[in-house]
């Protein structure tokens, strides 16, 4: 019986038993993939607003999908920004390099030469196009699946491998798990194992740049799953409030380890739409379309440079491989799903485009692939000569006590002594 002022005919008005919705992916192992919910737009269909458009006047873009290349590789529509061929070729090369690098490092892990590896197969356009669309000193705060940034910004391959092997070449002195690079000279921030922490840090960096009257902007990346962390909300709030010059990328590769994007809320609204809630402009972009990623990044960068503030970009893609070397995706998703991904493969698509344009050929491509495979293999040999994990070819173990603070305090000094290093 109600005790107070509320309606008294409770029994009558009372609802029947409540129940929750538990999202589940369209296809589990053995089932047919289903792409009916993807919310696609046709290539060229989505409008390209002027960069000074008010966020309120472009909310539709969060629910569309910016695509430039049509099925034949022809660039169409307003987001076709006539990117110089030189840049596209660099893009292709760096995407292939990324894939080859991933492939070799993955195998090295499988051969017991290191503890862990993470590939970005199928997502290469996202980091490579961004690296080319940004200025080289714009600051990047990546997650762990943007290796294309380092390669495109020419972080030395040998050093990258050194980090993977935790050997004497590793500038991080064996302290970090593989793939958690740090590349200050390339303006790329140190990777964290803790998801999403970099997101509001990027906003802070961008704020600092603007507070200092600098010209450099920042860009950051998180996965679809990672958007559920509080840091995501901090970043969007701060970016919106202060109009920080930062690009907030969400890499929606459909999966977060075994959880499909719906577990992070991706079935209720596209991740790009999160930006709308804060009054941020939000673009939803085909992440496997190099031209689209480049154009969207450029648009957002120009906006930031013009003191118009931050942009949220959802990059719609597919994690073609397992989450990491510790994962077995066949346990939780249909193996068909990736193979039939309707937005294709970013390398294949850019290749088709360049060939169609007549500026690149299958033959040149094969030659480049071979060149890059040889480059990576050769470098790998050199890297492995400096040691692989577990061989004891590392920085001196005494370095383990350094960099806790700028200067070790008595504890690190004494403990190092006790340890005998």
């Amino acid at each position: 019986m109600p005790k107070s002022g509320a309606k008294t005919d409770t029994a009558a008005r009372r609802n029947s038993a409540l129940q929750l919705k538990f999202p589940s992916p369209p296809a589990r192992p053995g089932e047919e993939p289903d792409y009916s919910k993807l919310m696609m737009s046709a290539p060229g269909e989505v409008r390209r607003p002027a960069i000074d458009t008010k966020p309120d006047d472009m909310r539709d873009l969060a629910y569309a999908l910016i695509r430039v290349m049509d099925d034949d590789g022809k660039p169409v529509g307003p987001w076709n920004t006539d990117i110089p061929v030189e840049i596209l070729k660099k893009g292709l090369r760096n995407m292939v390099l990324t894939r080859v690098y991933d492939d070799r490092m993955y195998r090295a892990q499988r051969q017991g030469k290191t503890s862990f590896y993470i590939k970005c197969t199928g997502e290469e356009a996202i980091s490579v196009a961004a690296a080319l669309a940004l200025e080289p000193d714009d600051m990047c705060f990546p997650a762990y699946r943007q290796q294309g940034l380092y390669l495109t910004r020419e972080y030395p391959l040998l050093t990258m491998m050194g980090q993977i092997y935790s050997n004497t070449l590793d500038p991080l002195k064996g302290r970090q798990m593989p793939i958690m690079y740090s590349a200050r000279e390339q303006s790329i921030f140190t990777i964290s194992g803790n998801l999403t922490t970099q997101y509001p840090q990027a906003v802070g960096w961008a704020m600092a740049s603007a507070m200092s009257g600098d010209t450099r902007i920042a860009a950051t990346w998180v996965g679809d799953g990672s958007t559920a962390e509080g840091d995501f909300h901090y970043a969007l709030t701060l970016a919106a409030v202060y109009h920080a010059p930062v690009i907030l990328n969400i890499v929606n590769n459909q999966w977060a380890i075994s959880s499909f994007h719906g577990i992070a809320g991706g079935e209720e609204a596209p991740f790009a739409a999160r930006g709308i809630g804060y009054g941020l402009p939000a673009l939803r972009v085909d992440g496997n379309d190099f031209l689209a990623v480049y154009a969207a990044t450029q648009w957002a960068a120009e906006r930031a440079r013009a003191n118009l503030g931050a942009t949220v970009i959802e990059l719609f893609t597919y994690r073609a491989e397992g989450h990491s070397t510790s994962d077995d995706p066949s346990r939780y998703r249909s193996t068909e799903e990736g193979k039939k991904w309707p937005l294709g493969d970013p390398i294949d698509r850019l290749l088709k485009h360049l060939i169609k344009r007549g500026v690149w050929s299958e033959k040149e491509h094969a030659a480049m692939e071979e060149e890059l495979i040889n480059l990576v293999k050769g470098t790998q040999k050199e890297a492995e000569a400096a040691g692989t994990l577990g061989q004891g070819k590392t920085a001196s173990p005494k370095t383990m006590f350094e960099d806790v603070f700028k200067e070790p305090d008595w504890r690190q000094r004494r403990q190092r002594q006790e340890a005998g290093f």
Partner: protein, 337 residues
């Protein structure tokens, strides 16, 4: 009796309690369909339905908060934080909420919940997959902190934790999931099956929180440890031949102060071992308590063998890890050998 490794024992504890009490629910990142990245929740969704075991978004703070709300409703949520290193986003909900509900509402509301999380090193996880944050929770009044060292204990303690009406942080030594570990990283992995503690009853049983286990009685020195370090300490004791009394705390809060005090008063010497960084680790509290309670019985300084005051470095895992050699040295110092 069935043989179980520690993951299976933990799984069995949850299954047993879900069977016994419809109020027990399990959720967390990847725990539903997939059964958890360490497989601790395998089959639970299939067995009990998605309403009882489900995947959560990557939001440790939200997971713990939701569990608090569910606990206040009357359920008994058991949530997984994928690695203890990722528990910090939930810190405010744990400290300010789970731990305080009962006190601030004078008992009207409380959060009967368990936060399970794999902790500790030994799997080349680097600084963000190896941490031992237990000491932080022991400083938070209102939280209980439990750490098993065997499959048998893991099941019994987890069941007791689920039945407990206070919030429990249940830290699982991930290095022990599949077998005990002496700390000699060069020795091959031994499976649990060849150890008696892998004999785990299928059904319900519980081990009360706050009762330590004397895993080896002895006269010369008391070793206080928990989790992975129980096995490392035992190895060191065996290797030194010192007649140590080895105490596995099992529950850090509530602490079995009586067993500790009795032992140290008897041996007059004490070595405290943990994997967490040294400064303000739980070893500090143990050392302080022991000298408060046993000052006039102590014949040598209480030794602490701990992780160094640095993050856990990937390539130097075995240099960092407080292995049997370091424990042995401390034992020798403690007995004056």
């Amino acid at each position: 009796m069935p043989k179980m490794n520690m993951v299976q024992a933990i799984n069995s504890a949850m299954a047993t309690m879900m069977e016994k009490d419809p109020k027990v629910v399990v959720f967390g990142e990847d725990v539903g369909y997939f059964g958890g990245v360490f497989r601790a929740t395998e089959h639970l969704q299939a067995k009990f339905g998605v309403n009882r075991c489900f995947d959560a978004p990557i939001t440790e703070g939200g997971i713990v908060a939701a569990a608090i709300g569910m606990g206040a409703y009357g359920l008994r949520p058991v949530v997984e934080v994928q690695f203890a290193d990722y528990i910090y986003p939930a810190m405010d909900q744990l400290v300010s909420e789970a731990a305080r509900l009962r006190y601030r509402s004078a008992g009207e509301y409380y959060a009967p919940m368990v936060v399970r999380s794999p902790y500790g090193g030994g799997i080349y996880g680097g600084q963000t997959h190896s941490q031992s944050p237990e000491s932080l929770f022991t400083h938070v009044v209102g939280l209980k902190t439990v750490i098993p060292s065997t499959p048998y204990d893991a099941k019994g303690l987890l069941i007791a934790s689920i039945e407990d009406d206070d919030p429990v942080i249940f830290l699982e030594p991930k290095r022990l999931y599949t077998g005990p570990f002496s700390g000699h990283s060069d020795e091959g992995v031994k499976a649990w099956a060849s150890f008696p503690a892998s004999e785990v009853p299928e059904g319900y049983y519980s081990i009360p929180l706050g009762k330590a286990a004397i895993v080896r009685p002895g006269q010369a020195v008391t070793v206080i440890c928990y989790g992975t370090m129980v096995h490392v300490s035992m190895a060191a004791v065996q290797e030194t031949g010192i007649d140590a009394e080895v105490i596995d705390l099992r529950s850090l809060v509530p602490l079995d102060i009586d067993t500790i005090v009795e032992s140290v008063r008897k041996t007059g010497r004490c070595v405290v071992v943990h994997e967490a960084t040294r400064t303000s680790g739980y070893g500090a509290e143990l050392s302080a308590l022991i000298q408060e309670h046993c000052f006039y019985h102590l014949e040598a300084p209480i030794e602490r063998v701990t992780g160094y005051d640095t993050p856990y470095p990937h390539a130097f895992e075995w240099q960092y890890f407080p292995g049997p050699k370091r424990v042995a040295e401390a034992l020798r110092r403690a007995v004056g050998a």
